[in-house]
């Protein structure tokens, strides 16, 4: 009865019976949303999880999950982790630096608006077009390729490393840095001037303020943002797919192979296991992210 009381109060002069009916009625309004999410998000996810533990015959089996430990998927996972870690690190450090350069400009300045808009495009639009932008820069007859070939006599056919892990790290940084700016800027903006002034008043030098106040305050937000970048890179597909058309050096591209050729490692539906692996990694990282975010929002909110 205590639970229905607020609802009964919302409907004036209702008898108790009506109050009880109301507590179920409004929930029905959520049905379309829940059904839609159920069909297009939950069912596919459950399909992946169940499929990963199913044998070809349909019974329970650890065969596919165990196959994740074989050399090809393991190497792809390792490369994926290296790529995600490196691009998250580069993105977090440089992105935080850029965010600081921006936050020291007044909020209405053109610089600030331009940088946040550009970062919004590069971080969220992403994918294929960014890959092509770098191919046009460093690929065959690219702008920088030609320029460097003319000046330094480097290989005029372009940089083959662009299509391998170092290239992926470079191109990923191109959307990781802007993403960092977007997610880290609010934390920097939350740094109150009073804290600096209070520290200075109590005798802190600029260096002491940064080491003892600003860095400890920003640390959780920085780590949280870096984790978000990591998950973003790990789940990214389009850029790598556009850049690397053959072979599968990283997990997302191995999933592509599993989907398009149906049989990888002699296993039909191995894609389910790989997708499960991806869910697990991203879920762990996002869980940590949410935990850190809760902590900073208390400080910098």
């Amino acid at each position: 009865m205590t639970i229905t009381a607020p609802l009964a109060a919302a409907a004036p002069d209702s008898d108790p019976g009506r109050g009880r009916r109301l507590s179920v009625g409004p929930s029905l309004g959520l049905l379309p949303f829940l059904v839609f999410i159920g069909i297009f998000l939950v069912i596919p996810t459950v399909t992946v999880i169940v499929g990963a533990f199913q044998s070809e015959a349909g019974g329970f089996s650890l065969e596919k999950v165990r196959a994740l430990g074989e050399e090809t998927p393991l190497r792809a996972l390792r490369e994926s982790l290296v790529l995600s870690f490196t691009s998250a690190l580069v993105g977090a450090v440089l992105g935080a630096l850029l965010a600081y350069l921006v936050v020291t400009a007044p909020p209405t300045s053109i610089l600030r608006r331009a940088v946040t808009s550009i970062c919004g495009v590069l971080a969220q639009f992403g994918g294929v077009t960014l890959a092509f932008a770098w191919i046009a820069t460093l690929g065959f007859s690219g702008l920088l390729t030609d320029l460097m070939a003319d000046t330094f006599g480097t290989d005029p056919n372009g940089s083959s490393w662009l299509y391998e892990l170092p290239g992926l790290i470079l191109v990923y940084s191109y959307f990781q840095i802007p993403l960092m700016v977007i997610v880290f800027l609010p934390a920097l903006e939350g740094l109150r001037p009073q804290w600096r002034e209070a520290a200075v008043n109590l005798g802190a030098t600029t260096r002491q303020y940064w080491l003892q106040v600003a860095f400890p305050l920003l640390r959780p937000a920085f780590l949280g943002s870096a984790l978000l970048l990591f998950a973003n890179a790990f789940a990214a597909y389009a850029t790598a797919a556009a850049l690397v058309s053959q072979g599968a050096p990283i997990t997302p591209l191995l999933i592509r192979s599993a989907l398009t050729s149906e049989i990888v490692l002699g296993q039909a539906n191995f894609g389910f296991a790989l997708a499960l692996e991806m869910i697990v990694v991203v879920a762990i990282v996002m869980g940590l992210y949410a935990w850190l975010l809760r902590r900073t929002s208390r400080w910098l909110g």
Partner: protein, 359 residues
């Protein structure tokens, strides 16, 4: 130097004699705005001075320049005879309490208070001891291990006060420390600040726009108006003898009643009153407090009752003179019972000196 300020209390061992503060000819402009226009301000050792004024009058600028958080364009500052004019903020030894949200959110209450001591290289044991003492002083000894977000606004400001005092500052600065709190806490904390300040005896500059607050806690109140100090005086004197029209109108409520000045006296509503220095000559308006106006029903009076508002122990009557001037009178609620809206009344004015300003 005298320590009489704190003798009446059971003062802790932290009593410092207090230092004199001298601010001379301070100027500061922002673009075309004169935030400070040649401000001179002197604080006696151990004294609490409150700067009072509307927003934009320059009071906060004055405080921040004294703290070193802002630069003056011209003028000098010295504390205890030491010239601080070009000393950076972190070398000035000023304890400051901000409007709100100035506690470091990543540190516990105890670590916040110990922060300045740590910067001064005091030992860990020493810091904890001193910080604990300061928290006891502001009545938060039990909250040492908490974080800022676990405290109420009033408690946060107490911690900020303890933090500012922990470093035994040369001067204590308070920048509208109560403005973000609700009314009840505000009154309570303001008395608390006054008690702690007289306990430790630190010279204090307090900035506020709330006149009641200023009159309640200050040794002297300085009223600021467009970058200058209009008057600085003990609260009672400021209230009874305003030096300028601005002070008279900003501090407390004032009626403006037509008056005729004649030498040292003025005629206001048939009464002859002494005038304060700085009054205008000839015809003008006398600034008269509502409590200086008494009212009695009289068929042949020269005013009419417009309304009577009951405020508890006192009531406030609004009246019109026959020339149309509105006058407010404050009287005991018992006396207000005899007033009828629309009734004729006679006004009398207490024969204390008044300020007469140009019409």
């Amino acid at each position: 130097m005298s320590v009489t300020q704190s003798s009446s209390h059971s003062a802790p061992s932290t009593v410092s004699p207090g230092l004199a503060v001298e601010m001379t000819a301070l100027r500061r402009t922002y673009g075309t705005v004169n935030a400070l226009d040649g401000l001179d301000l002197h604080l006696d050792p151990g004294e609490m001075v409150v700067l009072l004024g509307p927003s934009g009058c320059g009071k906060t600028t004055a405080l921040r320049i004294l703290a070193g958080l802002e630069r003056q364009d011209a003028g000098t500052i010295s504390v205890g005879g030491r010239d601080l004019t070009h000393v950076p903020a972190n070398k000035r030894d000023m304890g400051m309490v901000f409007q709100a949200y100035s506690l470091f959110p990543h540190l516990t209450v105890l670590d916040n208070v110990a922060f300045g001591l740590k910067l001064r290289g005091r030992s860990r044991k020493d810091r904890r001891q001193r910080a604990g003492d300061m928290l006891d002083l502001v009545g938060l000894g039990e909250q040492k291990a908490r974080y800022a977000h676990q405290l109420s606004g009033g408690q946060q400001q107490r911690v900020a006060l303890a933090r500012a005092l922990a470093i035994e500052p040369a001067v204590l600065l308070l920048d509208e420390p109560l403005s973000a709190l609700d009314a009840k806490v505000r009154v309570q904390l303001r008395d608390e600040i006054r008690r702690v300040q007289s306990d430790v005896g630190t010279t204090t500059l307090f900035v506020t726009h709330d006149q009641e607050e200023a009159l309640a806690i200050a040794d002297r109140v300085g009223v600021m108006n467009s970058g200058r100090l209009d008057q600085i005086a003990p609260p009672a004197e400021l209230y009874s003898s305003p030096a300028t029209r601005f002070v008279g109108e900003f501090v407390g409520l004032s009626n403006r009643i037509p008056a005729q000045v004649d030498g040292e006296t003025a005629v206001v509503l048939d009464a002859r009153l002494p005038v304060l220095p700085g009054s205008a000559a000839g015809a003008g308006l006398a600034l008269v407090r509502p409590e200086s106006v008494s009212v009695e029903p009289d068929e042949h009076g020269h005013a009419t009752v417009v309304s009577v508002a009951f405020l508890g122990p006192v009531s406030r009557a609004t009246l019109t003179l026959d020339d149309g001037t509105l006058v407010m009178a404050q009287l005991a609620s018992a006396a207000a019972g005899g007033l009828v809206v629309g009734g004729r009344v006679r006004l009398r004015i207490t024969p204390s000196p008044v300020l007469v300003v140009g019409a």
